[in-house]
Symmetry: D2
Subunit: 124 residues, 4 copies
Amino acid sequence: MRIEEKDLFKSYFKNLTPRERALFEGGITLGALFHQFIGTPVSLKNREILERAIEESMKNQPCVQDISVKIVGDLKEEEYIPLDGSMLDVKLKTEVENTVAYLRLKYIEDLNYPLMYVEKIEER
Amino acid sequence: MRIEEKDLFKSYFKNLTPRERALFEGGITLGALFHQFIGTPVSLKNREILERAIEESMKNQPCVQDISVKIVGDLKEEEYIPLDGSMLDVKLKTEVENTVAYLRLKYIEDLNYPLMYVEKIEER
Amino acid sequence: MRIEEKDLFKSYFKNLTPRERALFEGGITLGALFHQFIGTPVSLKNREILERAIEESMKNQPCVQDISVKIVGDLKEEEYIPLDGSMLDVKLKTEVENTVAYLRLKYIEDLNYPLMYVEKIEER
Amino acid sequence: MRIEEKDLFKSYFKNLTPRERALFEGGITLGALFHQFIGTPVSLKNREILERAIEESMKNQPCVQDISVKIVGDLKEEEYIPLDGSMLDVKLKTEVENTVAYLRLKYIEDLNYPLMYVEKIEER
């Protein structure tokens, strides 16, 4: 991005504090990840490379500082299934200036729901 | 959802103010919308029903109070294209207690980028 | 499409019989449908419009003559879930010259698998 | 898959010749690939791992014998874009008994269209 573009980009976020932006961008990335990759065929053979590829694609998103993706659940030999929402365990860190937000996507069995939430926010 | 589930669900968001949660959930919904529907075949014939179906599916998401989706750009007679990021103009309202956030997904030509940002936040 | 484009387009399929092309295009449309829409938030409120929007978007695909989409399974009041592979029941008709192929996407419980297959092929 | 499942699975395809099935399954896989991965954030940093992950996920699909995915087009330093249909160059081999089908997904500039077609079919 050229400098003018960076300035223009920034100008759209003047109304948010670093903390608010970290949460907003974190939400975008979790929503993006879930709805981009749900349905992908996954088996014991491609689970690991899919985890890494999801991580690397999401590192492109604004303000993402780090991300870890685990595809959980029992996969049987010789079978594949479409990736579903109960199989994703994601830890995401977004960073804006001195604020770091730790976000999570995790299937909560008692809710029968793949929940996206915020584990903690640190001001350094 | 049963009451115990509602309480459990809420407990995950105790660390966010209503304003922060409105932004977080708004981010999730914009990221979800983009990555769910990009690629959908669209033509003059199905543009409108696709707009409505995107709106109605996203109204299911937590804290979404209202949403308007426009698929913009020139579609030619007898042609269809995969929906792409430059074609979405989305206005989203999320609401948490007394806070309403107005969010936008819009292609910004000077950035060559489908930008997700916050237009305003109101405390009522 | 202009005439030259139509001719160019056709030239890529000279090596297939109408029957083969009907099956090939039918396969494309079933694969497209599944992987485009799996993950979409669905509830009692938006089930019907989502069914119609999927149908209309897929009618854009080459050689699709008709399509019916049913989202099956129990949806509870006040809940939504991401559309998954066990919930789709799709009947698709593709047509190439005098050949009509009737294709199906349906969850087969004994296989625990959303199967795409060909019900029949008619030469008229 | 247990033997009874394999038999049940096969029984759905009794009405297709090996050649027809190779084309049908090839179509499914091309449609699936396109609509699953379009929209994924891609940059110089994650292009290669995304190519490999797409290949490995699609190798799970029935009858896929081999696949090569190239993400083409100019990506600029420090920028990422959503993967779009003009950026995919895919070579897919499906195999059913003695038949091998060579399929292609490639953006055809004169059509302004990401075309899925069959390059050749070999009976061995």
